[in-house]
Symmetry: C2
Subunit: 370 residues, 2 copies
Amino acid sequence: MKFICSKANLLHGVNIVSKAVPSKTTMSILECILIDASANEIKLTANDMELGIETKIEGEILEKGIIALDAKIFSEIVRKLPDNDVVIETDSNLKTTITCEKAKFNISGKSGEDFTYLPYIERTDFVTISQFTLKEMIRQTIFSIADNENNKLMTGELFEIKGNQLKVVSLDGHRISIRRIELKDTYEDKKVVVPGKTLQEVSKILSGEAEDEIRLFFTENHVVFEFDSTLVVSRLIEGEYFRIEQMLSSDYETKVKINKREFLNCIDRATLLVKEGDKKPIIIHIEDGNMELTINSQLGSMDENIDIEKEGKDILIGFNPKFLIDALRVIDEEEVSVYLVNPKAPCFIKDDNETYIYLILPVNFNAVNR
Amino acid sequence: MKFICSKANLLHGVNIVSKAVPSKTTMSILECILIDASANEIKLTANDMELGIETKIEGEILEKGIIALDAKIFSEIVRKLPDNDVVIETDSNLKTTITCEKAKFNISGKSGEDFTYLPYIERTDFVTISQFTLKEMIRQTIFSIADNENNKLMTGELFEIKGNQLKVVSLDGHRISIRRIELKDTYEDKKVVVPGKTLQEVSKILSGEAEDEIRLFFTENHVVFEFDSTLVVSRLIEGEYFRIEQMLSSDYETKVKINKREFLNCIDRATLLVKEGDKKPIIIHIEDGNMELTINSQLGSMDENIDIEKEGKDILIGFNPKFLIDALRVIDEEEVSVYLVNPKAPCFIKDDNETYIYLILPVNFNAVNR
């Protein structure tokens, strides 16, 4: 195999597929990036068996062929090459030479035949959205997936399509995050659970530009993301997702309008009195026109007041401050509305059209100790 | 005690003195910042017994007093306060209230009387240099101090003043770094060894502006850095520094002029084939007009050529690539001169006036294996 391409193109491709190289694996071939120049295009592929990424790079093939190269070494070499054309050449012993200007690297490759290719997915009907929108929806929900594997479904996100609506949901047992957008077209109903890791990696590769589009294909067991010159194939998580509708009551006893930045900064300040692993709640006391936030820990105490607009009853309620911070950080509005029922019922942060809903369970606290 | 000052001033002061708060100590009072508003100024002090820093901040004292506050909590609180005036007030039980806008923190302090003050140093004759120059000289030499304590003197840097010359030297047994500048005035001869940690911390606090000056006072056992509103007091390392003159021969068999950036980038590329802890040398082959650099490791091999100007004999010599990189990184010139004698003798990278000299010992290598 021999081909020539620009360092910039090569690096871009390597960075994309590297996201699917497993950090730990017993199969050393999976630690490789496959370079396939056996047809009329140069394709890079990486695959950790759950998630696979394939991308095409521009270049000129001088001799067709295929090779698998250790992803770590190869990407470090490419990163440090001068900004110029790169020639990659392999011999019959899989010895690979990477030449750029006067620099010449030799590394040994592995046979491409040992590599596990991505599963072949028939790509017929698809959903189109902008890369910006998908990247935003992931960012705005990914923080509330569960990070342990006790309940596999909680480690993924629900993607539900109904007509021209796309809804993305994540939950971890303490909170639920929901984002909803309108699609340009109307589609057949779909309901799948995409692994959180897949979404995190896809989100890193997406350009994030509103004009750039991405196509999503759903099959029985897989989801495919197609964009630019890249194809991401991921397994879906099997099973039926949680029924969240019954938790989403729209009744409330107290409604608060508050400046998001003030609210967030105040909770952020309060958390510095909470040591890692400590579960000190922030206590929120809502009265007419005023929200008082207090926190008490071995390190000290904090007390702050924020002006609010209030409808309904006064309430005293406690929360894990991290959960409030996570939700407030991904809301772009300057002012948010918080809906509360009682100190034991979940609170909702949502907008009027319910394009976002963040449900957070309160924390029990000892009112005497506050 | 009660005083008021701006958040910006307070944060600036806290950031400065925090550099002298020990990360590990058995004396919990040393984990504190002392706030002394007992006279007509607000002074912050931290002291790890080797290094002490004191800085004055502007503010209005409403009630004189003194308190020691846990450095970590206090600095985190200050960092997260809104950008406005801060009031700090203590009561007779050492309870401290920090108020800013509507945020109010309570933490418990310690008695200022338990705090170990900085040693009193009579400050008479001093050396003046610009903050920029001192910061640069530290950066350009600090990397070659030894980081283990087997030889205490190697963990510091020699500061030697002779007439109007200041020379700074560091060495770790494999290499020597020397920087020399001309001072504006002529001073009495001095020769002291300043702890590397002190220099690293001082360098972080220095503005780095050429117009800002710093005054250095040397006593039998201490060095004092005085600049802006800050005083840094550090113990010196006792003992006589190494005699390096005999190692600084100016004879050479080969002289090479080379573009610094090309040389540095090439070695940097080569190191990616060297795993942490592995001691693979980079082999340099110097011939008329050409330098060939090669490296061989289990990961692969690299080979690169760079155009040079050469005087004298051809030579084949091996180096620890890190040592070359460290020296080349802190040289600002576009072109550097390298002086070599034979494959077992140190090489020198220096300029014609010897404002800098970097001596690096070569590494033995098996010529057959290259």
